[in-house]
């Protein structure tokens, strides 16, 4: 039953410290009626705990394994770059698709993120309509067009 649910509902794990951005993203996803469900963590450390099922994230049912990660770069405690490197170095996690979503396109950030294994690098949309479009494209591309790696748990 639970397994079925996880398969049907594709989860997207969003790591972003900005509450406004999280709210907006959730609103955009909800308003677009997209089938994916968003789970939020607030920094890199929480993201790693979540993925490794440690601390408060032990419960597999409450915290299902995501199919895709939207990763903000600048976060407290552990920033997006460190988290990205850690995920790519972890043999259980390295196959996870990760989209870096951040405020500015600092050239060295773009280069570095692809170097350390980001699948995409996207600048946060500046209008709500652009955000809606962003959500639908993400859903379209990563959950309909692209073949995702099987979940390995």
């Amino acid at each position: 039953m639970n397994k079925q649910l996880t398969d049907e509902k594709r989860y997207i794990l969003v790591a972003d410290d900005d509450a406004d951005d999280r709210d907006m993203l959730l609103a955009a996803f909800t308003e677009s009626n997209l089938p994916q469900q968003l789970i939020f963590v607030e920094n890199g450390e929480e993201l790693m705990l979540y993925l490794r099922r440690k601390g408060k994230y032990r419960d597999e049912i409450a915290f299902p394994h995501p199919k895709l990660i939207l990763l903000d770069l600048n976060m407290p405690k552990k920033d997006g770059r460190e988290a990205l490197e850690e995920i790519r170095a972890d043999k259980h996690l390295k196959g996870l698709p990760i989209i870096v979503v951040t405020t500015s396109k600092e050239e060295r950030d773009v280069e570095r993120c692809y170097e350390i294994g980001a699948n995409s690098f996207i600048i946060k949309p500046v209008t709500f309509s652009a955000l809606l479009e962003f959500c639908s494209i993400i859903s379209q591309y990563w959950f309909n067009l692209v073949e995702m790696p099987p979940l390995n748990d």
Binding site: T103, S104, F128
Partner: protein
């Protein structure tokens, strides 16, 4: 009048050297004289001694003959007359050799020879004749010739002595000159030595002082450079913060206002909608400004390894291909002459041309088709007339971008290169006023110069001066 230390040292060494050479020459001359004098003294003694020997032999011979005459004792004739004559001749030959470089002595010797020969004959006659016969006459004749010989010998000794006296006079002259000369030279040498020591010590101290100062300056300079690097890093950090953190709230304002309009737009009165729209527009402009500021802050950033040989012709062609669409749409005519290859950052120079051309296109006169002429020529630093003295032999490339657009008043020629400086309202022409500021920054980073000439309503000319080679001054 100030004489440089180098000159002083050179003059000091020159004087010391001259004195040394002069002293050497004088010493040599005096020594030569001394040796000549000694030799001559020796010569005189020899001549005198030999003449003495001759005279003595003659007198001995005469005495022997007289003794034999009186006693008839044949022991008086030992040694024999021939032996005595041989001895005298021997001495005489030696005298000839010794005095061969003195003609008057040789002449005297000739006379002496004649007298000696007469004397020999007398000796032989005296000692062969029968005892007691006319001994008186022969004694008288013998004495007469003996006196003549004595006189000749005295003459010769006198000549030698005269020469010796002359030589010694010269010698005295030289030696009397020598002592004060040596004294003066010594004093002079000591003076120069002391003076050189003082000057060199002073110079050395000055050098040490200067070196210490230089080291100080160097350290200060290094500290300043480090500080500058730190400031640059801070600035970069600021640029990053500006691009990232400052944009964050802006993005939110626009997202929220967008959402506000989307969700509640229908319920808002029209003037409220207007206000929100204006807010959105202001935020959009703010974002563009921030982004431009960021571009500007990055545009001058050039590392030595980003420098390469850039073919400006190929680069220009590449840049123009980006403008192809607008060129065709608006019927713009862009021409350019042959372009050189210069050292520089390719991306920066690309940006430079891009900005200059888009600037020309932006400020085209709507009443006539735009013409842009780009030309390049090679000049020396001196010909450019604006570069520093030490660069006058460097080669520069002068690029002129000329258009027939709306132009500007020459009074603003400097201002247009300042960041966010605009000559027109935002509603007339878009943009933040960053393009030419970036151009200026790029050219400064390439150690070049840019200037603008505006002709209101007629067009503008931008003159770029770039060195062919970049100095590694990092």
């Amino acid at each position: 009048m100030h004489i440089s230390v180098h000159r002083k040292i050179r003059i000091g060494f020159f004087v010391a050297f001259t004195i040394l050479v002069a002293a050497t020459i004088c010493s040599y001359l005096i020594e030569q004289n001394l040796v000549a004098n000694a030799l001559h003294l020796n010569h005189t003694i020899q001549v005198s001694r030999k003449l003495e020997v001759i005279t003595k032999q003659l007198k001995d011979a005469e005495a022997a003959i007289r003794g034999f005459d009186l006693t008839k004792d044949s022991t008086f004739l030992q040694p024999s007359m021939d032996e005595r004559i041989k001895k005298i001749n021997n001495e005489y030959k030696q005298l000839r050799t010794i005095t061969r470089d003195n003609p008057s002595q040789q002449k005297n010797l000739d006379t002496l020879k004649v007298l000696l020969d007469i004397k020999y004959r007398q000796f032989k006659a005296d000692h062969l004749k029968a005892p007691g016969q006319s001994a008186k006459i022969s004694v008288n004749a013998g004495e007469t010739y003996m006196t003549l010989i004595d006189r000749k010998v005295n003459d010769m000794v006198h000549i030698e002595e005269k020469i010796t006296a002359e030589k010694s006079r010269l010698f005295h002259f030289f030696s009397s000159l020598w002592v004060p000369f040596i004294f003066i030279v010594s004093i002079l040498a000591i003076f120069i030595g002391v003076y050189s020591y003082i000057v060199l010590t002073k110079e050395f101290r000055l050098q040490l002082y200067i070196e210490a100062r230089m080291r100080n300056y160097q350290r200060e300079l290094q500290e300043n450079i480090n500080l500058l690097h730190k400031y640059n890093q801070d600035l970069e950090q600021f640029a990053y913060v500006a691009s990232h953190d400052l944009q964050e709230p802006l993005r939110k304002i626009s997202t929220f206002s967008d959402r506000l309009i989307m969700k509640y737009g229908d319920n808002l009165p029209e003037d409220a909608q207007q206000l929100v729209n204006r807010m959105v527009a202001a935020v959009a402009r703010m974002r563009i400004l921030i982004q431009d500021l960021l571009v500007f802050s990055r545009s001058g950033r050039m590392t030595p390894d980003s420098m390469e040989q850039v073919d400006l012709g190929a680069l220009l062609q590449e840049v123009l291909s980006d403008f192809e669409v607008s060129v065709e749409e608006k019927g713009i005519d862009i021409t350019y002459t042959e372009m050189p290859t210069i050292e520089g950052s390719k991306s920066a120079l690309q940006q430079l041309f891009q900005n200059l051309i888009s600037n020309a296109i932006k400020f085209a006169d709507p009443n006539r088709p735009l013409q842009v002429r780009i030309s390049a020529e090679t000049l020396t630093g001196q010909q450019t007339g604006i570069v520093k003295e030490e660069l006058k032999d460097e080669l520069f490339c002068r690029i002129t971008v000329e258009d027939n657009g709306i132009g500007f008043e020459q009074a603003y020629a400097e201002r247009i290169f300042l960041i966010f400086q605009r000559l027109h309202g935002v509603s007339e022409y878009q943009g933040t006023g960053i393009g030419l500021a970036i151009c200026k920054k790029i050219i400064s980073a390439h150690h070049g110069y840019i200037s603008a000439y505006g002709y209101q309503g007629k067009g503008a000319v931008f003159v770029v001066m770039l060195p062919f080679k970049q100095t590694k001054d990092e």
